[in-house]
C-alpha cells in the first residue's frame, strides 16, 4: 500500500478494497463486517443498519442535491437489504461562512426525500469548522430499517440466475462529471438520484423474492457485478447490447474515455433473480417512471469463476473488470 491516502483509495474499486482490508478490517473485522453487504443485519436479522458520508461538488446538481443524496444513499443501502428505512441520524460538518439560505434549502430537500422513503430523523449533530477545513458541507447519515424481505446476500448467486438492472446506467457519474469545474460540457443529463425503497416494496408486494440486490453507486455496475462474482464464486456473463445506456451518457463517455459501466449511480440497482421471476420483476420496476429502460442484462454461469464477461454483438468476449484508479479523462 502507498504511504499516503490517494483519491484512488476512495473510488469504490480495487484500491478502496485494499484500504478496507489493510486498515479497517485489520483492526475491526467481525462477523457483521466480513459479510461486506450494503447494510448489516442486526438483532437476529430483524433490523438493518448502515452509515454513509456525503461530499459532492457541486452541492446542487442536475437531478438532485447533497440533501436528497444523503437520504437516498443511506436509505438505499437499507432497501438493498430488503429493509424498510425507518430511523435516520443526520450529522453535518459545515464550513464557516456557509450561506444559511443554502443550508435551509438542503434541509428542505432532506425532508422531502425522507417522506418518499418513509423514514424520520431521530438524532442529529452539527459541527461548524473554520474556513478551509471542509469543502462547504459534509454530511453523514446513518439509518436503521426493518427487514421485510429476508435472505438477500451477495453470496446467493447460482448458475442460471438472471441479472437485471433497474434503469439506464451511468447518469449520476456522467452528470456530475459534466458539471465539474474544468469540464465544459453542456448537457441536459440528470443524475438518477432517487430512493429505491418504493421499488423494492413494489417487488415484495408482487411476491418477488430477489436473491440479491445492490445499488450501483461508486464503481458502477462493473463493481457490483465483480463483487457478486467473487462473493458467490460464479461467472456473470453480460450481454453488452442489453445494458441500457442513454445517448448523453454514451456521448460523455466517448469524449472523456470512460466506461458507462464504471460510472457511479445514485438511484439504479442491480438484481439477481431466479429466471422465473424476471418477467414479473421487470414489469413491476417499469411502473416507475425512471425505470422505463429496466432490462435483463445477463446470466450467471460457471465459465470463468469470479469474473464478469461481456459478450459483444459479434460474438467476441472480454472481461468487464473491477474499475481501478481515480476516474481520469484519457489523454488523446
Amino acid at each position: 500500500m502507498t504511504k499516503n491516502i490517494t483519491l484512488a483509495h476512495g473510488n469504490g474499486g480495487e484500491e478502496n478494497n485494499e484500504l478496507i482490508e489493510g486498515v479497517f478490517y485489520k483492526h475491526l473485522k467481525n462477523d457483521y463486517l466480513k459479510k461486506s453487504e450494503d447494510a448489516s443485519l442486526i438483532e437476529g436479522g430483524r433490523l438493518a443498519f448502515t452509515t454513509d458520508s456525503f461530499t459532492i461538488s457541486p452541492l446542487f446538481f442536475s437531478g438532485g442535491d447533497i440533501g436528497k443524496l444523503c437520504i437516498c444513499g443511506t436509505c438505499n443501502d437499507l432497501a438493498m437489504m430488503g429493509a424498510a428505512p425507518k430511523y435516520v441520524t443526520l450529522a453535518m460538518m459545515i464550513e464557516e461562512g456557509f450561506e444559511m439560505k443554502t443550508l435551509d434549502k438542503i434541509v428542505r430537500s432532506i425532508k422531502k426525500e425522507l417522506e418518499v422513503c418513509g423514514a424520520v430523523v431521530v438524532a442529529g449533530d452539527t459541527k461548524v469548522v473554520p474556513r478551509g477545513s471542509v469543502d462547504k458541507l459534509f454530511i453523514n447519515t446513518s439509518g436503521v430499517g426493518i427487514v421485510e424481505l429476508e435472505g438477500i446476500s451477495a453470496s446467493n448467486l447460482s448458475v442460471g440466475d438472471a441479472i437485471v438492472v433497474s434503469r439506464d446506467v451511468g447518469c449520476h457519474g456522467a452528470a456530475i462529471y459534466a458539471n465539474r469545474e474544468g469540464i465544459d460540457i453542456q448537457s441536459t443529463l440528470k443524475s438518477d438520484c432517487a430512493s429505491l425503497w418504493p421499488m423494492v416494496k413494489a417487488l415484495k408486494d408482487a411476491g418477488i423474492k430477489p436473491k440479491e440486490m445492490r445499488d450501483a453507486t461508486r464503481g458502477g455496475l462493473a463493481a457490483v457485478l465483480n463483487e457478486w462474482a467473487k462473493a458467490s464464486d460464479v461467472c456473470i456473463e453480460v450481454d453488452e447490447k442489453s445494458i441500457p445506456i442513454c445517448d448523453e451518457v454514451n456521448g460523455i463517455c466517448e469524449l472523456l474515455g470512460f466506461e458507462p459501466t464504471a460510472l457511479a449511480n445514485e438511484g439504479t440497482f442491480v438484481l439477481a433473480l431466479e429466471q422465473k421471476d424476471v418477467k414479473k420483476a421487470i414489469e413491476v420496476l417499469k411502473t416507475f417512471e425512471q425505470n422505463k429502460q429496466c432490462a435483463m442484462i445477463g446470466t450467471v454461469t460457471d465459465e470463468y469463476k469470479k469474473k464478469v464477461t461481456l459478450k459483444s454483438e459479434w460474438d467476441t468476449k472480454r472481461f468487464l473488470d473491477m474499475p481501478t484508479g481515480e476516474l481520469l479523462p484519457r489523454i488523446c
Binding site: I5, W314, D321
Partner: protein, 377 residues
C-alpha cells in the same frame, strides 16, 4: 435541441463487423504480423475482441504509441520534483498523474500536499494562472502529434496575453521517428525488427494533425504497407482488409481508411503553430526503447523564458534511470513480446499498482490485456 448525427454507432455495427470478418477470413492467405502503432488501436483491438474474429495467421504486434507508457522515469521525476517547488501549481493531462516515477506519481505528490491538477483542455491553464497570480503554473505537456497543437495553442495564448506565471515542461514526441527506429534497430535476439513487422496500422488522431504524408517513406523506403485507420472496430477491420489486399497483391502503399477525418496534408494551421514554437530535440529517451534521434520536441530558444526545464535547471536531475529489472515493457513497446510473456504481469504489476509503464495508461498494451482479458480467444 437539434439531434446530433450519430458519430460512432455505424462504426460499431455488428453486421458490418461480421461481414468484414468473413471477407478477411476468405482473403487472408499468408501469416502476417501487423503493428498497430497507436495505443488507441491497441485499446480498440482488445476492447472489441478483434483477434477473436480474425483468422489465426494474423498477429497484432502492439506498438509504442501510448504517450504515458513511453514516458521515461527521468521525466516523471522532473514532474514530481517540480510539483515540490515552492509556489508551484503542476498541471497536466488526465492519465499522466498516475504514472509512478522514482519518488512516486503526481497523484501521490498531491496526496503529500503538492498542488497537482489535471485539465481536459490545456487552455484551462490560463484560468488557473489568472486565478493564482502569485503562483507559478507549470504545464507538464505530453503526448504525440495529437496533443502538441493544444500545447502550442496554450503557448500562443500565454505569449499574446503576456502571462508571466506560466511555464512549460515539454515532453511531446513524434510517431514517424519511432516507427523508423523500430524498423532500423537491431538486437542480439533477432536479426532485425524489420522482419517482425509486415505492415502498419497507421494512427488515427495523430494523422488528423500531421496528414498521412508523414508515413510516405514506409512504403517507399521500407516496402511496408501503411493503412491509416480509424479507432472504431469497423475501421480496424476495414484497415486490416486493406492491408491483406496489399499483401496479396504484393503492393506496399500508403492508404487511408480514415478518410472522414484524415487528409494527406493534415491540419496545416496546427502544423504551423507547432513549427512556430517547437524545434526537434536531438534525442529523446523513450521508456523501454532508449534514446531515439529527433523523436521529441523542445521549445524554441527564443521562448526559453517559458521553459521550466531551463528555469528550474538547478533542481532537476540529469542522471539516467534503469527500467525495473523484471519489467519487459521495452520488449512489448518494440513488438518483441506480449504482455502475457511478462512474469510480473497481473501479479506484481496491475493497473492499481503498475511496475511498468504499459500498465499505467488504459491505452497501454498491458493495461488493455489485464482489463479485457488477453486470455480470451
Amino acid at each position: 435541441m437539434q439531434k446530433q448525427p450519430d458519430l460512432f454507432k455505424v462504426f460499431r455495427n455488428p453486421e458490418h463487423i461480421k461481414a468484414l470478418a468473413k471477407l478477411i477470413k476468405k482473403e487472408s492467405k499468408t501469416k502476417i504480423r501487423v503493428m498497430e502503432v497507436c495505443g488507441g488501436h491497441t485499446h480498440t483491438i482488445m476492447k472489441y475482441g478483434i483477434p477473436q474474429i480474425l483468422p489465426d495467421n494474423i498477429e497484432f504486434v502492439h506498438g509504442p504509441g501510448c504517450p504515458v507508457c513511453i514516458m521515461p522515469k527521468e521525466r516523471i521525476d522532473h514532474a514530481y520534483i517540480l510539483s515540490q517547488q515552492p509556489d508551484v501549481i503542476m498541471v497536466t493531462l488526465g492519465d499522466m498523474i498516475k504514472v509512478p516515477g522514482s519518488h512516486g506519481s503526481l497523484s501521490e505528490a498531491r496526496s503529500r500536499g503538492a498542488d497537482v491538477r489535471f485539465v481536459y483542455s490545456p487552455l484551462d491553464v490560463i484560468t488557473i494562472a489568472k486565478e493564482n497570480p502569485e503562483k507559478k503554473v507549470i504545464f507538464f505537456a505530453i503526448g504525440f502529434e495529437t496533443t502538441t497543437p493544444m500545447t502550442a495553442a496554450l503557448i500562443d495564448k500565454v505569449v499574446k496575453l503576456g502571462l508571466k506565471n506560466v511555464l512549460f515542461h515539454i515532453n511531446h514526441v513524434t510517431v514517424p521517428e519511432v516507427m523508423e527506429e523500430l524498423l532500423n534497430s537491431r538486437d542480439e535476439h533477432v536479426d532485425s525488427y524489420n522482419n517482425r513487422i509486415d505492415a502498419f496500422i497507421g494512427p488515427s488522431h495523430v494523422s488528423v494533425i500531421t496528414g498521412s504524408k508523414v508515413f510516405d517513406k514506409f512504403p517507399k523506403e521500407y516496402k511496408k504497407p501503411v493503412v491509416v485507420t480509424g479507432f472504431e472496430p469497423v475501421d480496424v477491420m476495414e484497415g486490416m482488409l486493406m492491408i491483406i489486399r496489399q499483401i496479396n497483391d504484393g503492393r506496399a502503399d500508403l492508404e487511408n481508411q480514415y478518410k472522414r477525418s484524415v487528409s494527406y496534408e493534415g491540419n496545416i494551421v496546427a502544423q504551423n503553430l507547432i513549427n512556430k514554437y517547437f524545434d526537434q530535440k536531438d534525442l529523446f529517451k523513450w521508456r523501454g526503447l532508449g534514446n531515439i534521434p529527433k523523436s521529441g520536441l523542445k521549445l524554441k530558444d527564443e521562448y526559453a523564458q517559458l521553459d521550466a526545464e531551463k528555469i528550474y535547471d538547478n533542481v532537476l536531475p540529469k542522471e539516467e534511470i534503469e527500467d525495473h529489472k523484471l519489467c519487459i515493457c521495452g520488449d512489448i513497446l518494440r513488438g518483441m513480446a506480449k504482455p502475457t510473456d511478462c512474469q510480473v504481469f497481473g501479479t506484481a504489476c496491475k493497473p492499481s499498482k503498475p511496475i511498468g509503464s504499459c500498465m499505467v495508461s488504459s491505452e497501454g498494451a498491458c493495461a488493455a490485456y489485464y482489463k479485457y482479458g488477453g486470455v480470451l480467444r
